[in-house]
């Protein structure tokens, strides 16, 4: 399966408000694609549509050329971090990963591998309600990596990480892309993204405002942050 996430003409309304208004972009293999935009621009909705959690009113979202819900063992194709706080409080991090592994026909060995990869091994058997924000974030990353997928989709991966965690995350994202995976990352941290993203998709009000190579945008606007502010002016729901 080719490592490519393709979103095409997605439209979705929640009652009177338009969440997606023709969202179209592609995240290709071997690079980090930054997915940026103001709050309410439709980033999370797009990700939920890609995962088959929300149904679009129109348009398609394809993962390696197929709809996510038709994939067998989907976590081995696309790993996603969308809500790291969604944990059963009484269940340990290791057991959280274990049921996910079992759902994909994977065993406990793979669970221990991703625990090591994310540095969670020492707290793996602790109940999830004792986890800090950073630990939850790492657990979410571990879950996304569980199926060793060629495609990854991470919503705000830097949230709650300490400075050491930032460095680790930057390195991780880079190496995942270097391994040829398609990595779609949504974040508000432009300075972080500027260094690691090869491609940027700027969205506002449910559609793509600009999709370009990072180097093109920084060349034009000076920095990714400047590009973002310029391109999304007036598009935030709060502005």
């Amino acid at each position: 399966m080719e490592a490519i996430i393709e979103v095409s003409e997605l439209r979705k309304r929640f009652g009177a408000s338009v969440a997606l208004d023709g969202m179209t972009f592609t995240a290709g293999p071997g690079l980090v694609t930054a997915f940026v935009g103001p709050n309410g621009a439709g980033k999370s909705t797009t990700m939920r549509v890609i995962l088959g959690l929300d149904r679009p009113d129109a348009g398609t979202a394809l993962v390696g050329g197929r709809r996510y819900v038709t994939l067998d063992r989907p976590l081995t194709h696309l790993g996603a971090l969308i809500d790291p706080g969604a944990l059963q409080p009484g269940r340990s991090g290791r057991n959280h990963l274990l049921w996910l592994a079992h759902s994909q026909g994977l065993g406990a060995r793979r669970v221990d591998e991703v625990l090591d990869l994310t540095g969670l091994r020492p707290v793996a058997r602790r109940q999830a309600n004792g986890y800090s924000l950073g630990m939850r974030q790492r657990l979410g990353i571990a879950a996304a990596l569980l199926g060793d997928p060629p495609m990854l989709m991470l919503d705000e991966p830097f949230n709650g990480l300490d400075p050491e965690g930032f460095v680790w995350m930057r390195g991780l994202l880079r190496s995942l892309a270097d391994e040829g995976r398609a990595v779609l990352v949504s974040s508000h941290l432009m300075s972080e993204l500027q260094d690691i993203a090869g491609h940027v998709v700027v969205v506002g009000a449910g559609r793509v405002v600009q999709a370009a190579r990072t180097t093109d945008l920084t060349a034009r606007f000076g920095s990714l942050e400047a590009a973002y502010l310029e391109l999304t002016r007036g598009l935030g729901v709060l502005s």
Partner: protein, 490 residues
């Protein structure tokens, strides 16, 4: 998918503790209740009721005028008259009145000795159910209308009953094969008259059961066997009512070929009034049900509440199959827990009762297996129902409350003699509380006049039908949950 859901279930300590509560409740409370059972009679602990050839508890008390029959033979007699009295309080008056209760019995009988519970076959006239052939305590067959001549023939271990309206043309009623019938048996005339038991609605809800002592007297003539006759008051407890002391004692008077036989009692399978049954060892079911309801609901509402359901559906996008897999897991785990704990609670309860000089009414192996499997199934189906309600409503407290109101409350209302019998019966037909029918140990018999009410431990539906009602409720809610999950965004 099932493995993933099983991992989820066993990895939350509180849920495992909830399942463990099933054991604690069923075995612990069952043992506690059993240790407290003791039925005291004036001279100490009550004796066990006699048992019939099928092993079931029976009532075997009647007046018997009999002689020995060695090998094959027959007896014919004509019932010339049949009358009786019913003591008070009959409905609407407080005096002793003439009359026969519907299942008062006068007839002829072959019996394997005169001890209580000995096998028998009889043809008889009843108070208002015509001529019958009855045998082995549980069997009953209707004979021709208008007959008053009765005949029994014994060939080996087979007894055939006949009846006739005129003593000339005879009609066979049925053949009773009495296994192990000895060569030498008793044959003769008998009279029995069961207590008149009725239930009436109480002004404060529930019903009041009233039992009136009765006595019947039959005159037999045209008795075709000669020789000595012996009178035995079979199953006599030695107690006499004032009526028997002052007016008519049980016994026989003979005037040439006419025998006037007077007696009370019944020859029938015993009901729950005969003592505590196996059901008492399952006192902990209510507690266990509440435990599985809570676990069943939280197993799914926990996921909805925290958004974990999105992780679940992202990992396993076939929503209908995931929700069904969860139902199978919660149902399977609670079934095993219920089955094992009931399999311990039943024999443990019986042991505790018996070591305390008490007894539980006997139940056949088939009945015991049914009760154990039924306990597992009721817990399992209730857990699935609660889970289905949780998945449909997506609110933990609401679903737990709704499931308890739907399963436990109707059972308590129906069996605690709060509601009128009619309403109780309908609750136990329509609500998931119908599933409790599995724990009825003693069947209801049409030939026994007892008020078979829920508060007496009798359910309107047979065990498997009752469990099917719970299964239908559970399937409906899981179905609704699947529909809702498929149609809405996660």
């Amino acid at each position: 998918m099932i493995r993933a859901e099983l991992t989820k279930l066993r990895s939350v300590r509180a849920w495992v503790a909830g399942i463990a509560l099933v054991f604690v409740a069923v075995v612990g409370l069952g043992a506690l209740a059993a240790a407290g059972i003791r039925v005291d009679c004036p001279d100490g602990p009550c004796p066990k009721p006699p048992t019939g050839p099928g092993g079931e508890a029976v009532t075997d008390h009647f007046s018997y005028v009999h002689q020995r029959l060695d090998g094959d033979g027959e007896l014919t007699a004509h019932v010339a008259s049949f009358r009786g009295i019913i003591t008070y309080p009959p409905p609407n008056h407080d005096t002793i009145v003439d009359g026969l209760v519907p299942w008062a019995k006068a007839g002829i009988m072959v019996k394997d000795g005169t001890s209580e519970g000995a096998n028998y076959a009889a043809v008889l006239l009843t108070g208002s159910h015509g001529v019958r052939m009855q045998y082995a305590f549980t069997e009953d067959r209707a004979g021709p209308a208008g007959a008053s001549w009765l005949r029994l023939t014994r060939r080996g271990d087979t007894v055939t009953g006949y009846a006739s309206a005129d003593g000339a043309t005879w009609q066979p009623i049925g053949k009773a094969k009495l296994d192990g019938l000895r060569k030498s048996v008793q044959i003769g005339l008998f009279v029995a008259s069961p207590s008149d038991v009725t239930a009436k609605a109480s002004a404060r809800g529930g019903s009041i059961v009233q039992a009136r002592w009765t006595q019947a007297t039959a005159v037999f003539d045209q008795v075709d066997r000669q020789g000595e006759w012996t009178f035995t008051n079979v199953g006599d407890d030695g107690l006499r009512t004032d009526w028997e002391k002052g007016n008519e004692p049980p016994g026989v008077t003979r005037d040439g070929g006419r025998f006037t036989v007077t007696g009370s009692g019944d020859i029938a399978p015993a009901g729950n009034e005969a003592g505590p049954s196996l059901t008492f060892t399952l006192t902990g079911m209510i507690g266990a049900l509440i435990a599985v309801i809570v676990v069943g609901v939280l197993f799914i509402t926990g996921e909805y509440r925290r958004g974990l359901i999105r992780t679940t559906f992202a990992a396993m996008p076939a929503r209908g199959r995931v929700l069904t897999a969860k139902a199978i897991v919660i149902g399977g785990v609670t079934f095993v827990a219920g089955l094992v704990s009931a399999a311990i609670a039943l024999p443990l309860g019986r042991f505790l009762v018996e070591s305390n000089d008490g007894y539980l009414l006997p139940a056949g192996a088939g009945t015991q297996i049914r009760v154990v499997v039924g306990a597992g199934l009721l817990l399992s189906l209730t857990a699935i129902l609660a889970y289905g309600m949780g998945a449909t409503l997506r609110r933990g407290v609401l679903a737990v409350t709704a499931a308890i109101v739907l399963v436990v409350l109707p059972y308590l209302l129906a069996t605690a003699s709060v509601l009128p019998t009619g309403a109780a019966v309908w609750l136990l037909r329509l609500t998931p509380a119908a599933g409790f029918a599995f724990q009825q140990v003693l069947p209801a018999y049409h030939q026994v006049q007892l008020p078979y009410r829920p508060s007496g431990g009798y359910f309107p539906l047979p065990p498997w039908a009752g469990l099917a009602v719970v299964a239908a409720w559970a399937a409906a809610f899981v179905g609704l949950a699947v529909l809702r999950a498929r149609r809405t965004d996660a």
